[in-house]
Symmetry: C2
Subunit: 187 residues, 2 copies
Amino acid sequence: MSLSHAILGLLTITPMTGYELKNEAFDTTIAHFWQADQAQIYRTLAAMAENGWVKVELEIQEDRPNRKVYSITEAGREELRRWLHTEQPLPIHREPFLVQMFFASALDDATILDHIARQRRGHEARLAQYQRIPVPPLGDPALDRTRTFWRLTLEMGIAMERAYLAWLDQCEAVVRGMRDDEAGERA
Amino acid sequence: MSLSHAILGLLTITPMTGYELKNEAFDTTIAHFWQADQAQIYRTLAAMAENGWVKVELEIQEDRPNRKVYSITEAGREELRRWLHTEQPLPIHREPFLVQMFFASALDDATILDHIARQRRGHEARLAQYQRIPVPPLGDPALDRTRTFWRLTLEMGIAMERAYLAWLDQCEAVVRGMRDDEAGERA
DNA sequence: CTATTATATATGTAAAGTCATATAAAAGCG
DNA sequence: CGCTTTTATATGACTTTACATATATAATAG
């Protein structure tokens, strides 16, 4: 359960509601390398409260639904500290498009080029989104220790998207350059 | 269920048992961008047989456990063809190490450098493994249409691992170069 | 000669992730 | 004035993934 550790980390910054955690903290930071939906975050928070890793304060609001503000406990800090010292497994990638490309020889070139173009638009959008995140670049004197690590993870996100785009260019070039005698059966 | 489509694709090459599918076909190809364990593959094959996408032939063996050889049916080919034409979602990355790095400011530099070194060893091993896969490089005349796409997905795997290694170098350089006045509280 | 690895399939269980939907009311938009 | 978005939490239902374990035998390694 890396999700609970991500949440613990975010709660060290400031106490938050599940809603804020999801929409303000999580989705703008960790979601780039660890996705979770609203249901998962709420359920994980409930489990963490039972563990004693976080505590809840109910804020009654009259004009709004009540807020449950979660904050990290000493036990939670301890658990986060422990987890931060453990070795992490290598990343797991789920790439349906790569599965498709692996078997793309059965498709005609126009369809493949269309698939490539769509993937490119998606990755361009992701890259643009990353580049709008306001964290000072490496070397900037405004970068403190905390933000240095934020910046490093962002650098990885940007590097990944650039690698995808470069690869998509390569795919396109290869498909466009394929001679007919490389053509097998197609669907 | 992209796994069943991956299996369909592999079964277009040749009929196979679940065992062969897992240990000979899947793990040496698609596992790099779509992981699945033995239990999942066996259960997915059973579901696909119920769907009519594959059919089974029982080979009775005396000295060995019996083999169930799966082959793709016309309905399976049709489904694969349909799926190959659909647009695929962007990749999902689960990167526990990136979560850890995001909160690494709480760790001392030596621990961080150790984490980085361990990740590097893992990625170096993956890269070496990819580079041992015997698929002719792009441009090689021995590369037919089918293998061209295999090679392209391999190129992506190699590019990914190189991007990771470059990023780990960057992380290491940044951590080594951090001055004490960038140091915050640590655990 | 024993222990491990390879061949081959199956299942129980739990954790994690996805998708949809329910409730409730304010604020903003056209 | 009605429609959509934002704020805020909750749960049902399902699928997918992961981890462990069971069975059985041959071949290989030490």
